[in-house]
Symmetry: C2
Subunit: 457 residues, 2 copies
Amino acid sequence: MLPDGVSSFIDKNREIFVSDLMRFLEIPSVSTLSEHEKDVERAAEWILEQFQACRISGRIYPTARHPIVLARSPEVRGAPVLLVYGHYDVQPPDPLEEWKTPPFSPDRRDGCVYARGATDDKGQFLTYIEAVRSVLGAGLELPINLVFLVEGEEEIGSSNLEKFLTDHIAELRADAVAISDSSQFAPGIPAITYGLRGLCYLQLDMQGPRFDLHSGSFGGLIENPAHALATILAKMKNSDGTIALPGFYDDVLPLEQWEREEMASLPLDEEKLGDYLGVSRFTGEPGYSLLERKGARPTLDVNGIWGGFSGEGAKTIIPGKAGAKVSMRLVPNQTPEKITELFQRFVSENTPPGITIKITDLYGANPVLVSRNTAAMRAAERAIEAGFGKKPVFIREGGSIPVVNLIKKHLGQENILLLGWGNPDDGAHSPNERFSLDDFHRGIRSAAALFYEIARG
Amino acid sequence: MLPDGVSSFIDKNREIFVSDLMRFLEIPSVSTLSEHEKDVERAAEWILEQFQACRISGRIYPTARHPIVLARSPEVRGAPVLLVYGHYDVQPPDPLEEWKTPPFSPDRRDGCVYARGATDDKGQFLTYIEAVRSVLGAGLELPINLVFLVEGEEEIGSSNLEKFLTDHIAELRADAVAISDSSQFAPGIPAITYGLRGLCYLQLDMQGPRFDLHSGSFGGLIENPAHALATILAKMKNSDGTIALPGFYDDVLPLEQWEREEMASLPLDEEKLGDYLGVSRFTGEPGYSLLERKGARPTLDVNGIWGGFSGEGAKTIIPGKAGAKVSMRLVPNQTPEKITELFQRFVSENTPPGITIKITDLYGANPVLVSRNTAAMRAAERAIEAGFGKKPVFIREGGSIPVVNLIKKHLGQENILLLGWGNPDDGAHSPNERFSLDDFHRGIRSAAALFYEIARG
């Protein structure tokens, strides 16, 4: 349900909302790079200004690293409380040379805006602010109480969020939580996500000789750390694609039959997906469908690898050191703590003599499944139908949103609504990330409708 | 034999020669990096100026890439001709952060000069020019005819040298060739090198998806090129350290018994070598001694590896591409051509579906053994004794000097004298490369003595 006045305000102000988005996207709030610390702060300030402009009062809370914005709409007595979570930080934009237009100079083309953070998560989160603006712009009062929690560390593991939640439990009490940091199932097939994978992200550094050596003079005498690294990474997977860390699958909760059938019924266009990714063939764990592997089975990926000479031409050295970033996506009931232990043990047991190792824990998140049979979920279904003109499907997503676990754990919240306005091919974490302006518009409509549907109960 | 006047001139002018060397080392003549093209040219010009200053006439010949300097001393009728080869190009200096002083600001400390190229090959080659200066400085005429061949592409495979040699066969005719681009066996144990390994240096590029993907959304569906690369590199070696490319050892000439005995008799200080390299343990092909593995057995090394995210923190991507530089040191009778074929076949057969590969040939050199029973070799032994006060030992070196094969092949030259003035721990190709000023001095003495010993026959 969306009041006519609100609906027409959203339609009339479409362009103004797009220009708000462009301004937000101009801020290079890359949380993982310390050189962007000021930009991350600026993004938090920008958010606060938007809140102030629509009568939502809040403030910026410093943390050990990047600040958190907490804000609240004027009290509506007797109405339910909806907590809206978003993040204003973004992934690093590299490889820069693959962007058609610069990542922080948002470019509008083909009905989309292209910029780092367009879909993940600036564009999706901003829909809630524009929805508030639209209710007020239509001359109405908000039908519910809104609490906004916006952080700047989602892309680096939300490590300061837990303390913040426990310090602010009373202020964060709500009847439901809305998070738009996932996707539709496919363009035109809106979705509610009920499962997220967890994450265990580690860095493995290897040191061989104390500096780079002449490979002619010393080749044949010592372990090459780049080769030792390659060998360990190779051993982490079996030839059939399964993960070889002993015990890795022990805690994995098997998929239920109804879930496998539901996934099988979703209209996945494999050819189109292959074209988008530029791969001629899908591969992965045997015995599971593509959608099962994508959202409901654990994985292991090398996210980065380095060592020795990568410049132009030939340099004949044995590198002194080499390293890799390795991450594993987890499913219920795996935990990053246990997987980290398995990884450490595996690496120790497979490191040749003459090589020293260091493992750094960079990111951890538990996997999660949220309850589908709640009134809040029904309200979200109706809101999406109001915004997109179609009922959503239910999906499990391969990514992780650390806050979901924290909200479950510390706020005891079970009504978590993961409502993706964007699309799987928006290029989150990739060059040329984008957000369809139609989806932005439909997202604003859905967000506004959600206020009314949650209020209705 | 070194005339007293020459000997005392060398002693008296020690400091002047050091300042010449410092100036030469200031030129960042990195041949593999196109941004240093002008510097490489400048180094050639500097060489030519030195020749002109000691009555050696020559010129700079352009090639398809970096120029070659060819020069000749005033004719001494009836005297033999000695061809002296050197190279004025250097390896890239990275990793820059590991240098204690900048690589192209030569720093004098601990009795050494520290700079890229100090030992390889600027310092060692310069001894011949200073030797000429010293003969003339002592008021004498040169006892032999000298031809100098100095190139700027040794560190990138000497690819334009072959054409140059065949175009200038007549001018390069000589009774013996001297090349100081190797090392002593150990500090205070001068050596003549009679064997060099060959080289086959390749780059392997792998492409998976067409850009970096979100590892949450797409992990589990496609081949990760960094993982595929690690797997192929790992497969290239067996668990005992031998090389697994089928056919790799087929053409290897077994070591002869006398050679193994001679190598075993050399006083290698393994503990000191381990300390220098910073490794707690030596490893390598079973059944061969450290010196055999170092100089007389083939090897395979990853010289560099890259792919995906290597910055600070966590970036959850599946890289679009990954690559590695891989080189193999060859021994008689292996050839880079055949090894390249084996490598290509191995990679093709081990590339998983969904990954495309590209192999680029960056450098190739044949292995070589030179005859030890010649009058020129006896002359070199005496010259080293005159310069270092000690008879040299005979060794096989693990590195490659492409010109040696070319000289054998095109000039039919068998009297090739590989006379190393530097030391194995000078750090050629490593950060903080250096050259002992005592060795520089002894090298000048030996070079001058060589002129007289070769003249004596």
